[in-house]
Amino acid sequence: MGQGGAAVRALVPCSRGGAGAADTTSAVFGAFQGQTAGHGYFPTGKLHRVEPVLRAKLAPGTLDVLRVSNMIAKLAKTCTLRIRPDKLNFILADKVASGGVSMWCELEQENFFSEFQMEGVSAENNEIYLELTSENLSRALKTAQNARALKIKLTNKHFPCLTVSIELLSVSSSSRIVTHDIPVKVIPRKLWKDLQEPAVPDSDVSIYLPVLKTMKSVVEKMRNISNHLIIEANLNGDLNLKIETEVVCVTTHFKDLGNPPLASENASQARNPEQMAEVHVDIRKLLQFLAGQQVNPTKAVCNIVRNKIVHFDLLHEDVSLQYFIPALS
């Protein structure tokens, strides 16, 4: 994580001079209250005291936020964005709607923003939780590919929004400004406990993943045969992907993948390195996860808890992603 961070920090932050009129006067303070109402919508007709504030400027040339948002958009239709002074998280919590899949993605704020100002719901709880449609964010940031400056603000324009304001590079002297108002739902504090970082389970086997593109093409083909996939791996660097039907059995073997060093010495002695730990999952959930990985990650580890859950722990430069797929019941 450290190396990635240093590389990004070398980027030149965008100059304030280029900001332009679009910045200062437009709505920064969202007049809405999120906590006591069961949902975050602004009750029409009332003006409440200012609550969460977010005002941030992205360092130009940093397309990583765009890449992250594209990845999130592929992984989860709706997600929660948690904003803290030092970190940003994209969260998908274990829900029936997502089939029990959960996701935890973490970014260091200072690696992406040249300016960052936020105020959470209160001094003790200096955090903001927003629920939004992931595709909106990725679409909004896509416009920023040729941006001179990019600002993100929490606003209220008839309903709470994350306003992404982009000043485009333009041939002519006049600037072009694109504004996207992404509707968000401010999540009340009482629901925050469901959105915390999931505990990493004690896994039976931990193994490095093969090249994800290869894995994806294999899984895609298997999907045509069956929805029921068996993932098994051992501490000897072997990973198998298996599908079994009445008519056919297909297994793809990956060898010499390597295993991350084990946490405790005792555990390694007790286990037979050849012994496989397996978990049965819905192949579509695995495919959705793999579809989100456009680039091969810096680090990719797969942790299997026998018959319970498979946990993918990835690192894309300085963005960490954890994805949990529960076993089929």
Binding site: T25, G45, R139, H158, S174, R176, V178, H180, D181, P183
Partner: protein, 391 residues
């Protein structure tokens, strides 16, 4: 009629057909003295498009065999488009395209002369028809915007491809604003993302409109013209008036011109004040007020503003003046236009008097003339073809 298109112009013709296919399902082909005219209108009469190719566009152009009246025909857009379906194929392999209309045979013949001696002949069946002509006059529109199509193409880039309508207006500092238009749905729990693009006056070749004016029109239909104009590096001008009046989008060069006439939303843009001043902090306005036009408001709107005025005549007899229809607030159902009653067969069902219009781009089939007819294409303008009996 016989015309021959060669070289790069074949692709240009193909692109024009693709553009027209975004609007309507039937193509009206009419050879005129000024050139070959291709026109279409959508089913709800809220969008009309036409391209006129000057005789110089063709290697050979013969509007009509001498001694005969020029023929007009109406073809299924799908059929005509299938000839020009693959633009890359047109560019790479087609050397010449010959379009001929023979009064004896009942077929429009499109022949593509391709490389290696390959010749593809399409025999398309057509219907005789009256000339399709919309009544519009860019000169009568008080507001004009003109910019290279590329600028407008870049302006619509941030908007989702699925977005139906967009509002175009002049904002503070004479910046041209494009904003995604969402129908106000008071109880919808899933709000849509709102995108706004703001372009400086300097990017426009002409900007003749005051701050605060705005119109809302169908973006998908506009993209149809953009897809033609952008690669051809043409300038696109937008002539518009008050909300509700059709907006005219035009491109032109020495060999052709294109006009797309699109109906605009007649409700005044509910957030037009946004265009003029920034909104630092504002209580949520009552959105519902604008969602259903009240009968009072509607009475002030000319019902014809929902659709593009079409004029009807018969063949070579010249224009027949039609009685103009003005509506009382009671919203009378469209009355039959006397001798033209057979045309009403095509009309959409009329509204029940007293009901506010359910949807903005209603199709009403009135034949009233709003203004002195402007016929850029020349003679014989017609509302829609008569039923078969009239021929």
């Amino acid at each position: 009629m016989k015309c021959l298109v060669t070289g790069g112009n074949v692709k240009v013709l193909g692109k024009a057909v693709h553009s027209l296919s975004r609007i309507g399902d039937e193509l009206y082909l009419e050879p005129l003295e000024d050139g070959l005219s291709l026109r279409t209108v959508n089913s709800s009469r809220s969008a009309y498009a036409c391209f006129l190719f000057a005789p110089l566009f063709f290697q050979q152009y013969q509007a009509a065999t001498p001694g005969q009246d020029p023929l007009r025909c109406k073809i299924l857009m799908k059929s005509f488009l299938s000839v020009f379906r693959s633009l890359t194929m047109l560019e790479k392999t087609v050397e010449k395209c010959c379009i001929s209309l023979n009064s004896r045979s009942s077929r429009l013949v499109v022949q593509l002369h391709c490389k290696y001696g390959v010749r593809k002949t399409h025999n398309l069946s057509f219907q005789d028809c009256e000339s399709l002509q919309a009544v519009f006059d860019p000169a009568l529109c008080p507001h004009v915007l003109r910019a290279p199509a590329r600028v407008l193409g870049e302006a619509v880039l941030p908007f989702p491809p699925a977005l139906a309508e967009v509002t175009l207006g002049i904002g503070r500092g004479r910046r041209v604003i494009l904003r995604s238009y969402q129908e106000e749905e008071a109880d919808s729990t899933v709000k849509a993302m709102v995108t706004e693009m703001s372009i400086g006056e300097e990017d426009f070749q002409q900007l003749q409109a005051q701050e605060g004016v705005a119109i809302t029109f169908c973006l998908k239909e506009f993209r149809g013209l953009l897809s033609f104009a952008e690669p051809a590096n043409l300038s696109l001008s937008i002539h518009f008036d008050a909300p509700g009046r059709p907006a005219i989008f035009a491109v032109e060069d020495s060999l052709l011109n294109g006009h797309f006439v699109l109906a605009t939303l007649s409700e005044p843009y509910p957030h037009s004040q946004d265009l003029r001043s920034p909104e630092p902090c504002r209580p949520a306005p009552q959105l519902q007020a604008h969602s259903t036009p009240h009968l009072d408001d509607f009475a002030n709107d000319d019902i014809d503003s929902y659709m593009i005025a079409m004029e009807t005549t018969v063949g070579s007899e010249g224009s027949r003046a039609l009685p103009s229809i003005s509506l009382s607030p009671g919203l009378q159902p469209p009355c039959s236009l006397g001798p033209h009653s057979e045309e009403e067969d095509e009309a959409e069902p009329s509204t029940v008097p007293g009901t506010p219009p359910p949807k903005k781009f209603r199709s009403l089939f009135f034949g009233s003339i709003l203004a002195p007819a402007y016929s850029p294409q020349g003679p014989s303008p017609v509302l829609a073809e008569d039923s078969e009996g009239e021929g």
